[in-house]
C-alpha cells in the first residue's frame, strides 16, 4: 500500500519536475502529531489517576460502615454521611422525575413538531443561553421562586425546592441532547412511517423515539451527573449542613453530599479532611453506578437497531 502510493507520486513527479514528494518529512509530521495526541491523552489520564489515587489513599482509611450510616458530628471519628447520601438520592430521583418528561418532551416538540419561525428560534437561542448560566444564579432563582413564593407547596427550604432548582439547571442540557439524539435519526425512518399511513405521533412514539433512546439516555445521565455535584445552588436554596434526620417527604429539609464534603474540606482539623475524602469516594461510587446503569440501558437498546 505504502509503496504503491509513493510510486504513483513519483510518477507524477517525473511529469511535473517542480513537485517533490518529500515523503520523509510528511511521515515525520504524521508521527509527531500521533505522539502529541498520545501525550494529550496520557496527561489527562495521568491527572485523573493521580486524583483518584490521592483521594482513595486519603479516604479509604476512614471509609467504613459506621461512616456510611452515621449523621454529621463535631468529632470526625463519629461523623458520617448518611444524611447527605440519602438527601442526594432523594434529590436525584426527583430531578430525574421532573427533567425526563419535561426535557424530552420539549426536545421532541422543538425537533419534530415546531415550525422554523422567529418564535422557535427565540426559544432555541434562550435554551442555548440557559445552558451556560452559572449555577448560583439558578440557586438564587430557586430561593426566590421555589423556597419563597411557592413556600406553601414546596415547604420552603425543602428537598422539593432543591430538586426543582437543580431540574431547572439541567433542563437545557436534557433538551439539547434530546434534540441531538432525534436529529441523528435518519429521515428515511420517518418518511417510511408516513408512507405507510402512520400519523406523526405513531411515527415519533414507535420509531423515532425508540431509536433515539440511547442518545437521550446518555444526555440525561450526563446532566444528572452534573446535578449530583452541584453545591452552590443548593446552599442558596437553603439546604442544611448539619442535619440529624433523613428526609421524610417532599417538604422535608435535607442536605446533599457535595455540601457536606465542602464543609468538611474547609474545617481546620485534619481528620475532617480525611472523612471528606471518604465522602468523595462514596459520591464517585454513586456516579459510577449511575453511569453503569446508563451504559447498560444504552447497550440494551442499541441491539435492536
Amino acid at each position: 500500500m505504502k509503496t504503491d502510493v509513493s510510486s504513483r507520486v513519483v510518477d507524477k513527479g517525473q511529469k511535473q519536475s517542480h513537485f517533490t514528494a518529500n515523503l520523509g518529512s510528511r511521515y515525520t509530521i504524521d508521527r509527531i502529531f500521533k505522539y502529541a495526541a498520545w501525550g494529550a491523552t496520557g496527561v489527562s489520564i495521568l491527572i485523573l489517576v493521580w486524583l483518584l489515587v490521592t483521594i482513595v489513599a486519603d479516604g479509604i482509611g476512614t471509609l467504613n460502615w459506621n461512616f456510611i450510616t452515621s449523621f454529621p458530628s463535631r468529632r470526625a471519628e463519629n461523623a458520617g454521611i448518611i444524611a447527605a447520601l440519602v438527601g442526594t438520592v432523594w434529590v436525584m430521583c426527583l430531578v430525574a422525575l421532573f427533567t425526563v418528561p419535561l426535557g424530552v418532551g420539549a426536545g421532541i416538540f422543538l425537533e419534530e413538531f415546531a415550525e422554523d419561525n422567529w418564535f422557535t428560534r427565540l426559544v432555541e437561542i434562550n435554551i442555548g443561553n440557559l445552558a451556560g448560566v452559572p449555577s448560583i444564579i439558578y440557586g438564587l432563582l430557586g430561593l426566590a421562586v421555589f423556597a419563597r413564593i411557592m413556600q406553601p407547596i414546596t415547604g420552603g427550604r425543602s428537598v422539593l425546592s432543591g430538586s426543582l432548582t437543580l431540574s431547572l439547571l439541567i433542563l437545557p442540557v436534557v433538551i439539547v441532547s434530546t434534540r441531538e439524539a432525534l436529529r441523528a435519526i435518519p429521515n428515511s425512518l420517518r418518511l417510511a412511517g408516513y408512507a405507510l399511513g402512520a400519523t406523526r405521533w405513531q411515527v415519533i412514539w414507535s420509531h423515532v423515539l425508540p431509536a433515539a433512546v440511547p442518545g437521550i439516555l446518555t444526555g440525561v445521565i450526563l446532566a444528572l451527573s452534573r446535578a449530583i455535584g452541584e453545591t452552590a445552588p443548593l446552599i442558596a436554596v437553603g439546604a442544611a449542613v448539619f442535619i440529624s434526620f433523613l428526609p421524610e417527604g417532599l417538604q422535608s429539609q435535607f442536605t446533599a453530599m457535595p455540601i457536606q464534603i465542602y464543609n468538611w474540606v474547609g474545617r481546620p482539623q485534619e481528620e475532617f479532611h480525611y472523612i471528606a475524602a471518604s465522602g468523595i469516594i462514596v459520591l464517585m461510587a454513586m456516579l459510577l453506578v449511575m453511569n453503569g446503569v446508563a451504559v447498560y440501558l444504552r447497550n440494551h437498546f442499541q441491539k435492536d437497531f
Binding site: 463535631r74 448518611i82 440519602v86 423556597a147 446552599i235 437553603g238 449542613v241 442535619i243 440529624s244 434526620f245
Partner: protein, 339 residues
Amino acid sequence: MQFVSQLGARSARRLACSFSILALVGLAACGGGGADTSVDGEPAAAGEGVSGDIQIDGSSTVFPISEAMAEEFQIANPETRVTVGVSGSGGGFEKFCGGETDISNASRAIKDEEVATCEAAGIEFIEVPIAYDGITVVTATANDWAQCLTVDELNAIWSPEAEGSVENWNQVRAEFPDEPLALYGPGTDSGTFDYFTEEVNGEEGASRGDYTSSEDDNVVVTGVESSNGGLGYFGYAYYAENEGDLKSLEIENEDGECIAPTLETIADGSYNPMSRPLFFYVKKEAYDTKPQVQAFVDYKLDPANGDLVQEVGYVPLPDEDLAASKARVDEGKLGKDPS
C-alpha cells in the same frame, strides 16, 4: 406493514420497560431512604421535654459551634430537630429577616442595612455573643525576623494603597531583610476579611487585591507554610491545628504591649484589636413562642457547655460575659448592641 407494526410494538415495549426500570430504581432508592427514616425515628419517641424544629443558618465560621451544640442538645432532647445551614453571615441574615430561620449565626455584628431589612419585615431579634475568635497573623516557620507587628505595620502591608508598591519585608520595617512578601488571606465573602479590613485599614472591605485569596482557609495555611516570605491571616482554630508548621506573630495592642494569640489573651481581651466576638441572633418571637428555641438558646449559654466551644477551636466567653449574654436574652433586649 407487518414488519413496521411489529418493530413499533417491540420498541414501544422496550421503551416502556426502560422507563419502568428507571422508575423502579428511583422508587427503590427513595423507598430505601423512607424506610431508614422510620427506623431511625423510633428511638426518638422515647424522649420527653421539648420537641419541634429549630432552624439555624448563617456564618460558616460559627457553624462548628452550632453543630457541636445541636449534636449534644439533640442527645439531651431527642424529640427536637435542629438543622444548621451555612449561607454565610450575610446570606444567613437574608433568610433570618425573611422569617425563614429562628437563629442566625454571624462572625460579625449585624449591619445597619440588615437591621433595616429585618425591621421592615417586622422581625425583632436579640443579639447574643457566643464565643471569641482571635484573628491570627501567621508567617512561615523560616521567618526569624518578625516577632511582633503593630496595626500600623499591618496597615502598611494590607491597605489598598499598598497594592503593587509594598512587595518586600524591608518596606514594612527597615531592619527586616530583603525578602519578597507573599501574601495570603481569606476571600472577600468571609467575615474574617470584613473584621480584619475594618480593624487594620479602617474600612470594612478595603484591602489590597493583589494577594492570594481563598474561601478555604486551609489554602492560606498551605500557602504561607511553603513560602519563606509568606504572611497570612485567618481564625485562631486554623493556627491551633497547624501550630508546628506555622509561626504566629504577636500584635501590639492598644496598651502598646506585644501579645501573642492564645486562648487566654483572646478571652481576656488583651489580644486586641484582633480578638473578635462571634454572634448568634435569635428571633424574639421564636424565643417567646417556641419552647425548643428557648431551650436551645439557654443550652448554648450554659457555662457548662463552654467546653464544646473550645473543642471546635474557639474561645468560650469568660463567665461574666456569658452571664451578660444570658441577661440580654432574659431581658429580651432587642436590636443591635451599639457598643
